[in-house]
């Protein structure tokens, strides 16, 4: 018996898989369930196997779960190679064949016989496998249903109707969404297809036990992605300028901002490359706007030099980095957490930046706001690092979570009245870079302000901004800039709610450390482990620079051993932790995954048990990297 539905819709890229899954997810949210979605798509415009998984439960769902239990296979209508011995296999069939290894026992399969040839299905031995695994298979001609009552492209709607019939979902929620999103003939046809498909589904002799769980929300919920949350956090914090260049998966944030900024009275610029994108954000910020830019790995590499310029000139800016599997072009649509060191250290000279890695929608919103707040009060760059997983997954969040006040105005700048009182040199230049500020941070003036003129330069500079290579000045300026990081650490440590997340019993014997997008999957694994009698707790770290030394030290001291879970091959976060804390090397074992798929909770459970006993089997494409000294 499963307490959650894990419904997977699979088809060709361009078949409307994404929008259909979003509607399905939203309908279940309205029905009172908590939602989590997981997207898998290829790097091409049309065709190629794509799927979205929607997990729905009565209780909040934290991860995609292990495997799935309902497959709606639409076939790939854009397939170019409908032959089994093609280099990439039979693409038309992939939305069915590629999923069978992950379908749980007792699972349900619906496939479109209009597109997927039943003879070929027989050839792949579906019947035998179904028998072995107790799968329940319902072949149905969705294409014909769609053609008969509307157009072929509406076979997705037919698939939803069949799903509703097989799982006992009230179709009212789907009807509501169709009515809201469509009009005229399209609306009528879709409603008709939904109903006809539902009726067709009810004609089946239903042999499976799986039904949609029941739930009820005590307050209104919203369904959002991490990209939404980053963009909305930026807008609520007063960001009104974005510059960028498209690159998966960062494009999502860029698109959301670009579509909404005109309405918020802001400016969006799509420019020639990422060097320009970052440089424009600096120019806009210097001229007095809260500005952001961003990219994914390769594009962010191009931003290295402007990033260093922001550190040296103390021009505030927020950059976001949406990681994907590297190196180089890597796997453009697959998540990985291998850009951590890149983001922490890229650009020449010592790093002086803030880096946050949110774990989910809520953290993405909060930490993006905090990134702007710190960037614009301490006048330095702040980076939000996330990945393709957070970018695309939709999660339910209470609407009142977003009931916040926007930030008006800008910290870290002086008004003309304040400038009149501020220190100037004999030339009348504003002393922008004074050595003697306690927290390291000097307020700035904005071009056009009376009494604020000064030179800003990427060279080392004197207090008034002119280029200087004096050793004493150099040391004073470096010390002052680096002092901003310790001031920020103090400020973060004094916040009411820390950015770090704790899960599990505080007196647990064992620990799991995790950062960014894998946090909530780890938390789900922790629950399962404790239910099995293990004694485990987890710490999810979001502050990567300045590093939360006190919190992580206390956590590591309190456990006997610690598993560090991350999606890369070299254990970058474990390395950072050892570097920052200077000890605990022998306590930390890495559990690594870098095959382009995020961790499933079961893989973490197995990894944990294997790291303890040394004998248990690992599952999936994961690897254990022993602790230092082992």
């Amino acid at each position: 018996m499963t307490d959650t539905l894990m419904w997977r819709i699979a088809g060709g890229s361009g078949d409307g898989i994404d929008s259909t899954s979003q509607n399905f997810a939203k309908a279940l949210m309205r029905a009172g369930l908590h939602i989590f979605t997981h997207r898998h798509y290829p790097s091409r415009i049309r065709g190629g196997h794509t799927y979205v998984e929607v997990r729905a439960g009565e209780q909040p769902v934290r991860s995609r779960g292990d495997g799935f239990n309902f497959l709606l296979s639409l076939g790939d209508s854009f397939a170019r190679n409908p032959s089994e011995d093609a280099y990439y296999g039979n693409e038309e069939l992939k939305p069915l064949t590629e999923h069978l290894d992950e379908l749980n026992e007792g699972g349900v399969i619906v496939y479109d016989t209009g597109l997927i040839d039943e003879e070929e299905v027989a050839q792949i031995g579906l019947e035998e496998r179904a028998e072995e695994n107790n799968w329940h298979v319902y072949p149905v001609d969705l294409r014909e249903l769609a053609r008969e009552h509307g157009r072929e492209v509406m076979r997705n709607t037919a698939g939803i109707g069949i799903t509703a019939a097989l799982l006992d979902i009230d179709t009212t929620y789907f009807e509501g969404l169709i009515t809201e999103a469509m009009s005229g003939e399209t609306q009528e046809q879709n409603l008709e297809i939904l109903q006809k498909a539902y009726d067709r589904g009810k004609e089946f002799d239903i042999t499976h036990d799986l039904r949609v769980p029941e739930g009820e929300h005590d307050r209104e919920m919203a369904l959002l992605s991490g990209s939404n949350a980053i963009a909305y956090g930026a807008l609520d914090e007063g960001c009104r300028f974005i510059s960028g260049y498209p690159m998966t998966p960062w494009t999502d944030v860029f698109t959301i901002m670009s579509q909404n900024l005109p309405h918020f009275g802001g400016i969006s610029e799509q420019v020639e490359d990422e060097i320009a994108a970052a440089a424009l954000a600096l120019g806009a910020s210097h001229a007095g706007a809260k500005a952001m830019s961003g990219s994914s790995g390769g594009g962010f590499a191009l931003m290295s030099e402007p990033l260093g310029l922001a550190e040296m000139t103390e021009t505030p800016v927020v950059l976001v980095e949406a990681m994907r599997a590297g190196p180089s072009t890597g796997m453009p649509t697959k998540p990985e957490q291998a850009d951590l060191e890149h983001v922490l250290y890229t650009s020449q000279g010592d790093s002086c930046r803030v880096v946050f890695a949110p774990a989910n929608v809520r953290e993405a919103y909060d930490q993006t706001r905090k990134a702007f707040e710190l960037a614009y009060s301490y006048n330095l760059p702040a980076i939000v690092i996330y990945d393709q997983k957070i970018q695309g997954e939709l999660r339910t969040v209470p609407v009142d979570f977003f009931d916040r006040e926007p930030t008006s105005g800008m910290e870290g700048v002086l008004s003309e009245e304040e400038l009149a009182e501020a220190a100037h040199d004999a030339s009348g230049n504003f002393m922008r870079y004074r050595h003697d500020v306690e927290d390291g941070s000097n307020p700035r003036s904005i071009p056009g302000q009376k009494g604020g003129r000064h030179l800003v330069t990427g060279n080392e500079s004197q207090e008034v901004g002119h280029i200087s290579e004096s050793p004493d000045n150099r040391k004073a300026q470096m010390d002052r800039r680096m002092r901003k990081l310790s001031s920020i650490r103090e400020e973060l440590d004094e916040m009411d709610a820390t950015h770090q997340s704790y899960h599990g019993p505080s007196d647990a014997e064992h620990g799991i450390l995790v950062w960014g997008s894998q946090q909530d999957t780890v938390f789900e694994a922790v629950d399962r482990l404790n239910a099995r009698g293990e004694s485990v707790k987890a710490l999810g770290v979001s502050d990567l620079m300045p590093y939360p030394e006190t919190e992580v030290t206390a956590f590591l001291e309190s456990v006997e051993e610690c598993l560090v879970v991350e999606m890369n091959a070299s254990g970058q976060f474990r390395g950072l932790t050892q570097r920052e804390l200077g000890r605990f090397g022998p306590k930390m074992t890495s559990l690594l995954k870098y095959d382009g798929e995020p961790f499933e909770p079961g893989e973490i459970v197995d990894g944990f048990e294997s790291s303890l006993s040394g004998g248990a089997e690992l599952s999936g494409n994961v690897r254990l990297e022993p602790a230092a000294g082992d």
Binding site: D236, F264, A279, G452
Partner: protein
Amino acid sequence: MTAFTAIDTDEQAEKDDFTPGVEPQPTWCPGCGDFAVLKALKGAMPEVGRTPEETLLVTGIGCSGKLSSYFESYGYHAIHGRSLPVARAAKLTNPGLEVIAAGGDGDGYGIGGNHFMHTARENHDMTYIVFNNEIFGLTKGQTSPTSPKGHKSKTQPSGSAKDPVRPLTLSLASGASYIARTAATNPRQAQEIVKEAIEHDGFAHIDFLTQCPTWNKDAKEYVPYTDIQQDDEFDFDVTDRREAADMMYEAENRLYEGEVLTGRFYRDEDRLTYGEEKRKTGEMPADPLAERYFDEDAEWARTADELLGRHT
């Protein structure tokens, strides 16, 4: 009510106001053409009626990049090749600023060539001065994008096998709406051209020939020069793209034959600036964005009110 009272003031600045009160010792060599750019710029500013505090001078890296150190205004000494993207975003954020960008030929036509092309294409209302000395000076004499074919240097010991960049032609093809070439040896024309460029509504590009007496000794001092507007040999319509293109091609060829043709090569007064184009599409706020952060009465929309409804 403005938070930027230096912009559009009634104050009249003098040439000396653009000289820093505590003047840094210039790093330029004696006889360097860069002094002429500084002089022309200082001379042009009072003529266009702008003051130091409403002017943002964004510079690149190299000897030319030091211009912002010797010119009194708001200055932003950026990184190699990236002055234009910094400058154009500042202009979008606060259109009341007088925005000037400057850098060398390596900066503008080499490492920053992509930005040059796109900033010209977008026709931002700003001025771009390229110090063209046909050499990398500060790094001590390497071949630059405008070095003539065959030019020998430490990094091209057998002579450059490349044709040089054609800065004027490139500018025209990219979309600049004011294109001129002047020379350090022609201070009167230089100041006039800088003034015109600043007054021009749109992207104004000046290819400013600045001799490098240290590293480009075999290069001419850019004398004698010919002003194409003054010489009867050159009768062309500066507003006609095709005629301008021919004139540019001629001038670029003759420079390498030792003849320095300077003057105005192209002017399009009708084309809208990027800010105007963007305002037409509704993607640029009516009031300067920079003002909003200082305006206590400004309204800040909430995503909870504006955007959350689509997710429920």
